[in-house]
């Protein structure tokens, strides 16, 4: 009995030490470098510019009600679908975007963090449609903001900046492809940026301004 107790205490202490290592692990917080000044930017505010949000039952960060549009089937219950309006630099609506998100099977809490895959279709009326593929690391947001503020109810020290993009392109940026219109055939890179200003408990959402920094050779994506 004494031996069993010693083993159990040892296992718990070892697991706790590993938990501390994982929590402070710098390997799981890497992201793409911030874009240079020439990147073109489409931006939106959360939740004001969300046209529609359907979320799977196992993908609810804030424990919100999934409502009528719930993605409840087991094949899509870690998936979310967003409709968004994206503004240009003049803060005028420039595009409508569909964002299909899912947790990534490449998630590795030791080496890569908590990964999400993002598939955007962005249509700029009169210009064409873009497809954006980006992997995002949600671990820095979970560790620094969501868990301490939302679940442990610690004081909010925001606003908080996050650059979550970690691939799949070169330099850990995302990939943007021109599908139709003036963009057809062009290819470039994309990086996301979030500035989270508050977590709204009443509505179960984060209040944030988000930006898509697009580097797409060829036609301009939005007026600068």
């Amino acid at each position: 009995m004494k031996h069993l107790f010693v083993v159990l205490v040892g296992l718990v202490l070892g697991a706790a030490a590993a938990g501390v290592v994982l929590y402070y692990n710098p390997l799981a917080t890497r992201s793409a470098p911030e874009p240079n000044a020439t990147a073109r930017v489409l931006h939106y505010s959360l939740p004001d510019q969300v046209l529609e949000f359907a979320v799977g039952e196992d993908a609810r960060l804030f424990g919100q009600d999934t409502g009528r549009d719930s993605l409840w089937e087991e094949t899509i219950d870690r998936t979310a679908v967003l409709g968004l309006v994206l503004n240009d630099a003049a803060n005028q609506p420039a595009a409508v975007a569909s964002r299909l998100m899912a947790t990534s099977g490449d998630t590795d809490l030791l080496l890569r963090g908590v990964l999400l895959t993002d598939h955007w279709l962005i249509t700029l009326p009169g210009q064409g449609t873009l497809f954006v593929r980006a992997d995002s690391n949600a671990w820095p947001f979970l560790k620094n903001t969501l868990v301490p503020v939302w679940y442990l109810e610690r004081p909010w020290n925001g606003p908080a900046d996050y650059w979550p993009t970690v691939g799949p392109g070169a330099d850990q940026s995302g990939v943007v492809l021109g599908i139709t219109g003036a963009f057809r055939g062009s290819e470039g890179s994309v990086v996301e940026h979030y500035k989270i200003s508050a977590l709204d408990r009443a509505r179960g959402v984060a209040l944030a301004n988000a930006e898509l920094h697009l580097n797409l050779p060829g036609p301009r994506v939005a007026a600068q």
Partner: protein, 220 residues
Amino acid sequence: MKTLFLIAIVCGFGGTLAGAHYVPWLEHARLPSHTSVVANGGRAEQFLIRLPADRIAATDGEAGGLRGTGTEGTMLLPAQFVAEPLLVEHFKVRDAADNVVGVAARHWHGSGAAATTTWSILIPSRGALVLNAFGEPRGALESALRASGYSAGNAWDGRAAVTMISPGELGVVATGTGEFEGLSGSYTEEWTVAAVDENGRISGTIELKTITSQPASLPQ
């Protein structure tokens, strides 16, 4: 006893790190793929959307017609976009065995010389497929329904089938990720409406039939 304690600590430490590294925490449930081989060596796969059950949302612009305004789940466009030839729709997607396997976005855009349609289909356990074609003329579905006897504000049932890719044109696989990465191919899209209720809600199916293959390697 001290040795046992140290071994237990090492095991707890290593086991936790190994679990963090090797356990597939966020993998998606996967159903068998319903594909068949076609004569030229490609792979045929059909995706199905049942309306209204699989419709998640659609934009409410003037270009939407029944598809945009006839049901719940309407995405309210900003005033600047209401008159634009733009229709964005979101759906759940089923495989040929009628199981929901993914989600999809369809963007119809009527600016320029010809309307275009782009589909992004995400099957979480497999990857994403992006399809692109010259799309249907504006109001194509409503025109087909009217030709079959439908009038706005009245319930209708029957059968109206609309091919959503312009005649003589071919839908293409534009790109893909995961299992679909590097594939090329073609697709067809057909909407079949079986009923429309008094509120304009459409009942029917959307069939996407894809044929994909690995591009032939370049000669050395």
